[in-house]
Structures are given as structure tokens and as C-alpha cells.
Symmetry: C2
């Protein structure tokens, strides 16, 4: 099909939507390292994981071989309320940048949670409901995951208990109100509701919290309450599996128009969006069917890939979770409170960590003010007000397109626009008022936390 | 096509998008009454209006005969960034309500301004730019129109000056920040920046403002600054013309599947959404080609249609604008500050007023807490967090569907879901905390303002 026939937005028809999630691990030669029991340092068994997660999700978590998991009909119907998400050709951005590059983005922000997180939230809530549970607990940072889970639980009639990182809770009062609209209870973390919360508050009074703390509290709440399980919005294998719907839709849309991306870019905090977006493309690369350049973009203030260590580490500050092998800054690392751009998690998905370690993917880090500059630029040109997290990918995509302008290369760039920034206006305000800085951790600081990594063979 | 083939969301293809706006006035036997010069009480001439509005928009405002106006290519391209908007089949809502009714809604919230307002904002900014103007001034209440205009101006490189009703400015600090992201300047109204603002503040110190006040300030600013014109987000004939894109898309989508709505419902403040949604359907009714039931839904606290007077009145509190014949509560009427549900304008589109007066359309009013109940219910069932304004239509649609459950009628209901409530969480919080009331103006109060209407034959 000729170039000028490509619409501004490619929407798949309902019948073209994926009916199965794609499990990238099935095509990986080097499988991601298994989760370890924090006590014995032995691989976690399904039985052990079953105390924390639903049965079906444990299966998905541990299965490195099955390539496709059918999406249950109820989940597919829920997806139809806000999916397929549009694959957008950024004509206006291309024109403004005067680049020969062709830029596409998969926009996941057109739902009330404001991000891609809903794709996994509904899946995790569905399996909890199916198992006859009363409810689920979780943590949330920027609030997108908590909102997504609240929506999914409200739809299915499950109880939902959210521990929200304290600095976000204070910066984003309206996020709490949205979760409340969906019937969830929201507690700022660390809290006095859990033993681990009390301990963290005693050791670090006045802490603004971290995802790692909030995870510990949510896990404790789940394992100490009958009929509850813990759910997590990123990092885990099961989450990347669910998020493959992003990449599958994107690939179907591109294939319809005979477009093959050269570069695929995504922001990376725990890796859920990036892992989902790249999944089917990386699958082709792993099977030797096609080649793509993959770029993970992380904040310079929380540089897990670019300055972290590939090692077993705790997933949470309270060290109640299993150990995961991943690129990590250490489970005690907490990014500067001034960092408003999300992606604050100390570690990274084991799948993505393995791919990065195998040289199948690149990573770069970007500074906060550069991210917000890109965000504002993008908002004015493409109309969409992006989430700070997503804007990391925008920054990298713009830089790549500008390089093309200089070299004359007509690359096709695909990036993930994970969500909208409607609840991030405090951060935008700081940016407008010149009160945002680019704090980057020093080598000494990183070395300190690196030295605290658990010693595992 | 059989019933079960109708998808959750009907998206038109780009080539199916309207290429011309439909001017409902061309098919009206009783034309809407002309705007009058506030001094002479004679119909406003194109020349007089040209001091306030762009030339092209003056033409659109005054033309009661041309049925279609071509949409310029630049505007059509801008539309492609966020349109076509989905026509959604509310399967989940139908199931939850156990109604035999079929419910559809045209969802205009999937853009950064969060509402349908962008449809007219880009048109008005385009014509201002084409005329070589420097910038535009406007007022905004809930902030959706101001945001929309900021986006359009930023895209076209026009200066944008927004007077924001003070109570909204205070309730919605983040709206201001979004407008700032798009480079607009935002002033709480009434302000000391204009003569009319000073006068209003002197007479009513401590007033929380009203749309009527803000309009007066914006008009004054435009007419006293070289190279500026005033633009308005509702009420005017030109705005309803631009908003016909909503109805045209909706009708094309329904026609594709052979669906004919029985009832068409929209919220009504100034009438822009309702007028746009019903336009092509009302056209058929006026031409005797089809019949539909139309229902305007307004807040009980600002009941222009249901308790107002059909008379010439000022469009603004400062009485600097032309007089319009409309259903009005009087230009000095300001709804209770407790009313958080939007649609606070004292008057109503002249087109809709004429149709209502001719018995071609019905109107009902709904109470604030009933509106928020419907909003929360809808959010939980359909996933979308609706704007308070839109939720007036949701309330009426749900009530209609429940009636169908009782009578067994399989009516097809179409309503306009004009926008999202992400910036309305203060109102939702009040609702959750039980601090919202249902203030309704007394007959004495309404009589007082009715007595102040200008005396025109």
C-alpha cells in the first residue's frame, strides 16, 4: 500500500484483536533466571508462590515454554471497552521536526486509568475472582497501576486495597479520589498498618516512601489476610505476558500496511510496557526471522539498566518478596524525591534483564528536564499531554528522528506512548516554574547500595 | 447486519469522516431570532459583528440558508489527530441495568482538552489565523473550552488569553497548568484587568464569578486590543455548526449498521454538544424524513429551558455583547457556588431555544447528587470516568433505559458523552464525602432575575 494511504490512526477491528497473549520466554534461548526463595535461595515452587499469587498467575509466572496463552473471553470483552488502542502515525511531529524518519506510536492512554496498566490489571483481577478470592492488595507509585486495578476490581466485584507511595499520595490527591470512585481503599506508604511499614518508619522517619516499601506492605497485607492475594503491575513475567497485547496489536496494525519498524523504543521502570511492546518483534529477532533495534529509556535518576548490576536482589525494601535476578540499583535505593518523572523502581524485569545482558537490546538514560521539554513539545505538536513516564520514550524518539534529519536516514521509529499526564500537573508546574532539577546519583551513592546486594551464586 | 455483529466501539475510517459541517438552520422553518445590537435593538450587521469575531465566523454566524460549509483541509487534518471519536455500544451498562433498551454513546473525551470543545476551538482559531490576527481571547468555566482553545492556538501559533471563572480557577488549579503547557495565559475572572471586571468586583466583592462575567471581560479585552478577536465555546450558531461533526459522525456510524435511534439525549449548558449531536437527526425530522425524540438535560440549579423565559437577553453579565433571543434565567443569574456539575450558563443557544419553543425537542432538569450517582455508576460499569456535565445525559439515559425495563420497550437510546472528569475530582470528592447538596433556585429568586430582563418587542 502506498505511503500516503496510511491514516493518522490505525485502529484494528475487533475481530483483529489478539485472542492469546504471547509469552516471549518461549523463544528465549537463555531463559530468565528463576525467582528464589529468600530463605533457602532455592527456586520458588508453585506452591510457595501460591501463598502470594493466584494459582493461574503462578502458572503463567513459571511457564518458560508455552508460547501462547489464550485470553479468556471475559477479559477480551473487557479489553473491547478500551481497546484496540490506536497506532498513531505522528505526521505532525515529523513535519515539525523536519525529519525524513517515519514515527509511529502505540497510544495506551485512552482509558480512565490513563495507561497500559489496565491490560494486566483486568487479567490479574479476573484470575483472583475465578479462584473465589475476596480481594487483592497492591502498591502504586504514580497511581496509574492503582487506578487500573481499582477499575478492574470494581468491574468484577473484588475488594481492592492499595498502598500508594507517600510522595505520590501527596502530589496526586486526585488519583486517590479516582480510586475511591472505583471503590478502592488507598493508604499512603509506609504506613502503620503493617509490621514492615512500622519498621521502615522507625528506621527512616519522614521518608517519602518508595515502590519497594509499598510492595512490602501490600505483600504482608495479602499473606496475613484470608482470601487475599497480592498483585503487581510490573516486573513480573506474568505482567509482561499480559502486556504483550500492546505489541501484538501494534504488529498487526503495522503488518496491515506493510510497515516494518527499524527502531522500537519504550520507557522502562519495571519493564511492563517495554516488555509488552517489544514482545512479538523480539520474538522474530530471537527466531532469526527479522532484526530490530530495541531501546529501553530510563531516567538518569534511577538508572537500573545503564548503571545497575545484573544480580539477584530483593524486589522490595522489606525483603519479604522472592529474590529476582535483574539489573538493579539495590533494594534500598530510593530515587531523589525531586524526581517527578515516574519509573522510580530500583530493579527491572528479569526477562528484559536477560535480553539486555545477552546484547539483544540497548538502554539509555535521560535527564528529567530533557524529558519534560520533550513532553511539552509533543503535547503542543501532537495534541496529547503525555505522562512523564511515557515522555522518556518521546525524548528518545525525538532524538532519534533528529539524528535521521542529520544523516538523511528514513528510519521507521515505533515508540510506546504509555499514558497521559492529566494527574501529573504538579510536575508540569514545577517544570514551568523552573523548579525541576536533574539530580543524578553519584558513583559513591550507587556503590553503597551495590555493596548491600545479597550474596547469591 | 445482525445485532450481534455490532462491535463495542464503532470507529469510522478516515475517509468516512465528514468533509462539511451541517448547518441545521437551513432546514428550520422558523429561523432562530437574530442577534440584536444592545444599543439600537436592531439586528447586528456583519460589520458590527466583525469588531468582535473573525470575518469568516461572522458569515457562519449569520447564514441561515447554506446547508453545508466545507471543512478546510487544515482543520480536517487536525481532526484526524483525535477524531473520528468512537460511537460506543454500552453493552456492559445494558447488562447491568437488565434493560431491553440498546444504549449507544458518542464519546468525545478522548483528547487532551477532555471534551468535544476542541471541534469548534480549532475551527475558530483557524479562521483567526487565516485572517492574520495575533491572538484570541475567551472565557472558560469548567476549563474544557479554555484547554481546547489553548491546544488549537498552540498548534497554529496564535496568542491565547483565557478568563477563567474564579470558582473553577480555584477548584481546578491543574486545568490552568494544562493551558499553560499549551502556552496560554489564564486570569481568574472577575479580574482587575478590565473595566467590566473592576465594575463587577466593586458591585459584588468576593464573587466567585460566572460565565457571564468572564465573557464580558474576554470581549472587552478583544475589542480594546489591536489584532485580537473574541471566540466563544458555546451558544453561538457558528459553534453549533462546527459541533455538527459529532452528529454527522454518529449518524454515519449508525447508518453503517442500519441502526435508527428512538431517543437522542444530550446535556445542555449553552447547547454546543446537544446542538452538534442532534443536528443531522433534527434535520431529518425538520424535512419530514424521520422522527426522533430529543431530550435536553440541564441541571436543576440552572434550569434555562425548564424554568427560564424565551426572550431577548444579554449573553453576558457586563451587557457588552449583542442581545440574543433564548431561553434564559436572566444575565445576572449565577447558579449556587455549591453546584459543581458544570452547565452554569444563564442562557441557551438561539437555535435550540427556537426548536424547543416549536415543540421539536423536550427538556428535563436533574439534581446534582443524582447526576453524580449516575456518574459513579457509569464509571464502574463502562470504565470511563465522565465529566459532571456529561453525566447529566448519563442520568437521563439510565432513567430512560430503566423505564424500558419496566415497560419492556426495546428502545434505541443515543446519548452524548461529551467528556471526561479527570479535572473534576474535587467535585467527586465532595460527592464521596456527602458534602454535595441539591440547591434549586426558588420561584422568587427566578422571578427577581426575570423582572430584570431587557424589554424588547
Amino acid at each position: 500500500m502506498s505511503e500516503n494511504k496510511i491514516p493518522y490512526k490505525i485502529y484494528l477491528e475487533e475481530k483483529e484483536m489478539p485472542t492469546a497473549w504471547y509469552n516471549l520466554r518461549a523463544d528465549m534461548k537463555n531463559k530468565p533466571a528463576p525467582l528464589l526463595n529468600p530463605g533457602t535461595h532455592q527456586p520458588m515452587t508453585a506452591e510457595e508462590l501460591g501463598g502470594v499469587f493466584c494459582e493461574e498467575l503462578v502458572k503463567q509466572e513459571l511457564d518458560n515454554d508455552t508460547a501462547y496463552f489464550d485470553i479468556p473471553e471475559d477479559i477480551r470483552n473487557f479489553y473491547k471497552m478500551y481497546r484496540p488502542s490506536p497506532l498513531v502515525r505522528a505526521y505532525c511531529l515529523e513535519e515539525k521536526l523536519k525529519t525524513p524518519a517515519k514515527i509511529y506510536y502505540k497510544f495506551e492512554g485512552n482509558n480512565t486509568s490513563g495507561s497500559h496498566k489496565l491490560n494486566s490489571a483486568i487479567a490479574q483481577a479476573y484470575y483472583a475472582k475465578k479462584q473465589g478470592l475476596k480481594g487483592v492488595t497492591t502498591e502504586t507509585g504514580a497511581g496509574q497501576w492503582g487506578t487500573a486495578l481499582s477499575m478492574a476490581c470494581s468491574y468484577l466485584g473484588l475488594d481492592c486495597k492499595v498502598y500508594m507511595v507517600k510522595c505520590s499520595y501527596e502530589q496526586k490527591p486526585f488519583r486517590r479520589e479516582v480510586m475511591r470512585t472505583y471503590g478502592a481503599s488507598v493508604t499512603p506508604s509506609p504506613s502503620m498498618e503493617t509490621e514492615v511499614g512500622k519498621k521502615i518508619l522507625a528506621e527512616h522517619p519522614g521518608t517519602t516512601g518508595s515502590l519497594g516499601c509499598a510492595i512490602s506492605e501490600a505483600v504482608e497485607k495479602a499473606v496475613t489476610n484470608e482470601g487475599y492475594r497480592y498483585v503487581l503491575g510490573s516486573v513480573l513475567n506474568q505482567v509482561l505476558l499480559h502486556q504483550s497485547v500492546i505489541g501484538l496489536e501494534a504488529k498487526t496494525a503495522l503488518d496491515k500496511y506493510g510497515i516494518k519498524p527499524d527502531v522500537i523504543i519504550g520507557c522502562a521502570g519495571g519493564g511492563s510496557n517495554l516488555g509488552g511492546l517489544i514482545a512479538p518483534f523480539m520474538g522474530e529477532k530471537l527466531r532469526g526471522e527479522a532484526d530490530y533495534q530495541f531501546i529501553a529509556v530510563e531516567p538518569a535518576s534511577c538508572p537500573s539498566f545503564t548503571r545497575g548490576t545484573y544480580a539477584y536482589d530483593f524486589c522490595d525494601t522489606g525483603m519479604v518478596c522472592p529474590l529476582a535476578k535483574m539489573y538493579t540499583l539495590g533494594s534500598d535505593f530510593i530515587p531523589s524525591a525531586n524526581h517527578a518523572g515516574g519509573l522510580r523502581y530500583h530493579g527491572m524485569s528479569s526477562i528484559l534483564s536477560q535480553l539486555y545482558n545477552d546484547g539483544l537490546m540497548e538502554a539509555i538514560s535521560v535527564k528529567q528536564t530533557d524529558v519534560f521539554e520533550a513532553a511539552e513539545y509533543f503535547a503542543r505538536v501532537e495534541g496529547i499531554l503525555p505522562a512523564p513516564e511515557s515522555s522518556h520514550a518521546i525524548r528518545a524518539a525525538i532524538d532519534e528522528a533528529v539524528k535521521c534529519r542529520e544523516t538523511g536516514e528514513e528510519k521507521t521509529i515505533l515508540f510506546g506512548l504509555t499514558g497521559t499526564g492529566y494527574f501529573d500537573m504538579v510536575a508540569y508546574e514545577k517544570f514551568h516554574d523552573g523548579q525541576m532539577d536533574d539530580y543524578i546519583p553519584t558513583d559513591e551513592e550507587l556503590a553503597k547500595y551495590r555493596a548491600m546486594l545479597p550474596k547469591i551464586d
